[in-house]
């Protein structure tokens, strides 16, 4: 419960604050909360991976980009208010519909099954056997993403020199 509140607060402030860096800090709070939720759901590996990837990598990455493109949020254009209202209304509607769907669904009423003692070893085995091909593809994707990101970001290096 506390975790949920923490997470939601973090996320909400991440979206709400005006200063981009504050947003990122709040975001890390939210990520940590989600990770804690994973831990609560006995998914240790995923939770810690979440912290490592998001807090350790993504957040820092975002911070770097913010540092490189640092501007305070630009002044509100004429339609800012309408943008704000429409956006929030749509989002709220989405939430309402989803919540309704969840409440109606029958799947959500069952209780907690006994804890599955998932060790990291099992995950590794699964990755190496049943999910080998996805794993390979993932590696390929990550490599491609790495190169692509470098190329895109460093594209104009010679111009800058």
């Amino acid at each position: 419960m506390i975790l949920a509140v923490l997470t939601v607060a973090g996320m909400a402030s991440a979206m709400g604050l005006r200063n981009a860096v504050h947003c990122v800090l709040a975001l890390t709070l939210g990520f940590t909360g989600v990770a804690a939720l994973y831990l609560q759901l006995d998914a240790q590996f995923v939770g810690l991976a979440q912290i490592m990837v998001y807090v350790g990598a993504v957040a820092i990455l975002i911070v770097f980009v913010i540092m490189m493109t640092h501007r305070s949020e630009p002044a509100a254009p004429p339609n800012f208010i309408s943008l704000w209202t429409v956006g929030s209304v749509v989002a709220a509607a989405v939430f309402a519909v989803l919540a309704w769907a969840i409440c109606c669904s029958a799947a959500s009423t069952q209780g907690l099954p006994p804890q599955p003692g998932v060790t990291v070893q099992q995950i590794g085995d699964a990755l190496m056997h049943r999910f080998l091909l996805p794993l390979e593809i993932m590696g390929l994707l990550l490599t491609a993403a790495l190169i692509g990101a470098v190329v895109i970001a460093m594209g104009h290096k010679e111009d800058m020199k």
Binding site: V86, G87, V90, A93, V97, A101, C104, S105, L132, L133
Partner: protein
């Protein structure tokens, strides 16, 4: 001895390992690279000897030993790889490793001056490893991988002197041409996997070359009426044809001669181009999978035969009129490959493979001899500028003569005779048609002829090298011509010794497969054999032998008549044939001039036809046309009026309407990401609502 089956992977692994290490070496430690390559090659030669011995000792029982393992799992099924050891594999292994070893040693001398010595040996070793992998592969997938590596290394080696533009171009050409074939090969592989669910050749009854799968394949038939097996076989044959330069795809092989000569010998004469033939031999059960009536060859085999026969004749014709010493051999290689394909088609695995093996030896011998010649002439490749080398390089001449006689199929003492004779004999008894036999026979005649021509040009006559001022331009490696002396000289021992060894093999190998004692064939077929002179009196044995030897003699005689008895005087003399039949000669010289040929015929035909049409026009059609034209004019006027008044206006209206609506619609596209996302959100809401509705109702 069974450990050899477990450890057969070492045979290709060693050269590849050597290649990997020498890839890490720096350019200047040449010794290390050479030692690595040659040593690994020698080691795998010994291993393959062991393999051969093992196969020999374990005759009688199941001749095919396989070792399969799981590679990796995707979804819930495993992809399996494996290697196999059967007579074919063993023979190929020994052949490749032996020839490869000799060529490696040879290129120690040949590439001595090259500054990329290390890289060269790295590539060579990699190639050898991949080739051996092709041979031992028990899985079509593994075979395909090694096949591709082979293609890659051939690309790298053809373009080894990549600063020569034509070398680079040739490399590209070779790579792309073979790719076309490999694409078909890949398709066939995928098709096969889809049908049989395995790519292993032999898997204890579950393999794709074993009866269960084959019957399954034969049973199914495709849209165009071919059985699935035939379709797959044809696709695979495309790959094979691409690799071993059969007629549609032969264009890359002559250009591939831009590479260093040892490469031409190893890759484009002995091993790689034979890989295609090997592939057909390996997939022979698939090729010959017949739907019931076994006595007519399958469509696949017929295709193989015809393509082979055509190639054999066609390439032999072209070879007659070439002047580049290596191109002559290239075309003869193509035609010999055609023979092999034909042999496979008409006579089965044994016949084709026998010619493959013998050809590998004498053709690499020829190429190495060529290399030695070129080396001696400081990179001169034009046979008109050589001549008289008989005196300057005797060893080369002797060995070259052996190779040449073997290639011509000089009776009784040379391997080429027996293997070619074998092919011709089975072609004669082919049930479908006799044409391949005649084409093959004529090809044999031509072969003898052009080889004689080449030999007389190169070794006979008086030395014309002195007058060649362009040898620097021709020189394939600058370092070679650095210490260029006008007089040709014999090559170093490290180059001549392999020549001698190969020559010995080129002579002796033939006796493995004489009709009297068809040891080789029976070894491949797994049957037992005995020595029997009486076999000569068998069906069409002696006649074929006699006829083919007569053909050979005719060829030799013709060659002598043209080039021998009156030695060529000057480099710029016209070729004898050229004097005799300039048109035909040029025509062949430019590899059938295909475009010009079409041009000539079509145009002549056209002119004639146009004359006829002209007459018809003038006296028959004209009146009719006149009358018709008036009606047309009338209609045209009416149309014009109709357009102007009716269609145009309506059409304009339509255009305006479209553009207006476009403008209106484009308001939606305001380029704001977030408005798009807003719409997405609304769509999501609608979707969920719809799903809920569905759930409720």
């Amino acid at each position: 001895m069974t450990w050899i089956i477990k450890n057969l992977w070492l045979v290709p692994a060693l050269p590849i390992l050597a290649a990997a290490i020498s890839a890490l070496l720096r350019r200047r430690d040449r010794i290390a690279a050479a030692t690595l390559a040659v040593g690994s090659m020698a080691a795998s030669f010994l291993l393959s000897i062991c393999a051969l011995l093992h196969v020999l000792t374990s005759r009688g029982g199941n001749p095919i030993h396989t070792f399969n393992f799981r590679w990796f799992q995707f979804g819930n099924e495993w992809l399996k790889l494996g290697w196999m050891l059967d007579p074919l594999t063993a023979v190929m292994l020994v052949m490749i490793t032996l020839v490869g070893l000799l060529i490696f040693i040879y290129s120690l001398g040949y590439m001595d001056h090259d500054e990329n010595f290390t890289r060269f040996f790295c590539f060579l070793a990699l190639f050898a490893g991949a080739m051996l992998g092709v041979v031992i592969a028990n899985s079509l997938l593994l075979l395909f991988m090694c096949w591709e590596i082979v293609g890659l290394t051939s690309y790298l080696l053809i373009g080894f002197w990549y600063n020569k533009p034509e070398a680079a171009a040739a490399a590209k050409k070779a790579f792309i041409t073979t790719r076309i074939g490999d694409l078909a090969f890949l398709l066939g592989m995928v098709w096969l996997y889809a049908k049989t669910g395995t790519l292993l050749f032999y898997d204890g009854g579950a393999g794709c070359l074993e009866n269960s799968a084959l019957t399954h394949l034969v049973a199914q038939s495709t849209a165009i009426g071919l059985t699935a097996s035939t379709g797959i076989a044809l696709l695979i044959f495309c790959g094979a044809a691409g690799k071993s330069g059969q007629v549609p795809f032969h264009v890359w092989l002559p250009d591939a001669m831009e590479g260093p000569t040892p490469v031409s010998a190893l890759i484009h004469a002995a091993t790689m181009v034979a890989a295609g033939v090997f592939l057909i031999a390996r997939a022979y059960p698939l090729m010959s999978a017949h739907a019931g009536f076994p006595y007519t060859p399958t469509i696949a085999l017929q295709v193989v035969t015809w393509v082979g026969a055509i190639t054999a004749l066609f390439a032999a014709l072209i070879a007659v009129a070439q002047f580049d010493i290596k191109r002559i051999l290239a075309y003869s290689t193509i035609s010999q490959l055609g023979y092999m394909m034909m042999g496979l088609g008409v006579g089965g695995v044994a016949v084709g493979t026998f010619h493959l093996i013998t050809h590998a030896f004498f053709k690499s011998l020829l190429f190495l001899g060529t290399g030695s010649v070129i080396h001696g002439c400081n990179g001169e490749q034009d046979i008109r500028r050589m001549g008289g080398l008989r005196r300057h390089m005797p060893i080369t001449f002797a060995t070259y003569a052996v190779g040449m006689l073997a290639l011509c199929g000089f009776p009784l003492f040379f391997s080429g005779f027996w293997s070619k004779d074998d092919i011709l004999r089975s072609a004669l008894t082919w049930s479908v048609s006799r044409a391949p036999f005649y084409m093959g026979a004529f090809g044999a005649l031509l072969t003898a002829f052009y080889m004689t021509r080449q030999v007389f040009y190169v070794f006979g006559g008086r030395a014309r090298l002195a007058e060649s001022s362009r040898n620097i331009l021709h020189s394939s490696h600058a370092a070679g011509s650095a210490h260029a002396s006008a007089l040709p000289r014999e090559s170093p021992t490290v180059m001549t010794v392999p020549l001698v060894i190969l020559a010995a093999f080129a002579m002796l190998l033939g006796f493995m497969g004489t009709p009297a004692w068809p040891w080789f064939q029976s070894f491949l077929d797994g049957t037992h054999t005995t020595f029997a002179v009486s076999a000569f009196s068998g069906l069409a044995v002696l006649p074929v032998m006699v006829s083919s030897s007569i053909l050979v003699f005719c060829g030799l005689g013709l060659g002598w008549a043209f080039y021998g008895h009156k030695p060529i005087q000057h480099a710029d003399d016209l070729d004898e044939l050229d004097k005799l039949q300039p048109s035909i000669f040029n025509f062949l010289g430019h590899a059938f001039y295909l475009d010009a040929l079409y041009g000539a015929t079509l145009i002549r035909w056209n002119t004639w036809w146009s004359k006829v049409c002209d007459w018809l026009d003038r006296w028959v059609w004209n009146g009719a046309v006149q009358s018709v034209s008036f009606c047309v004019l009338g209609i045209a006027h009416f149309d014009d009026f109709f357009d102007a008044s009716v269609v145009n206006s309506g059409f304009d209206e339509g255009c305006q309407g479209v553009s207006r609506s476009g403008q209106i619609l484009s308001l939606l596209q305001d380029g704001q990401v977030q408005s798009y996302m807003r719409i997405i959100g609304c769509a999501l809401i609608v979707l969920v609502l719809y799903l809920l509705w569905g759930a409720k109702a």
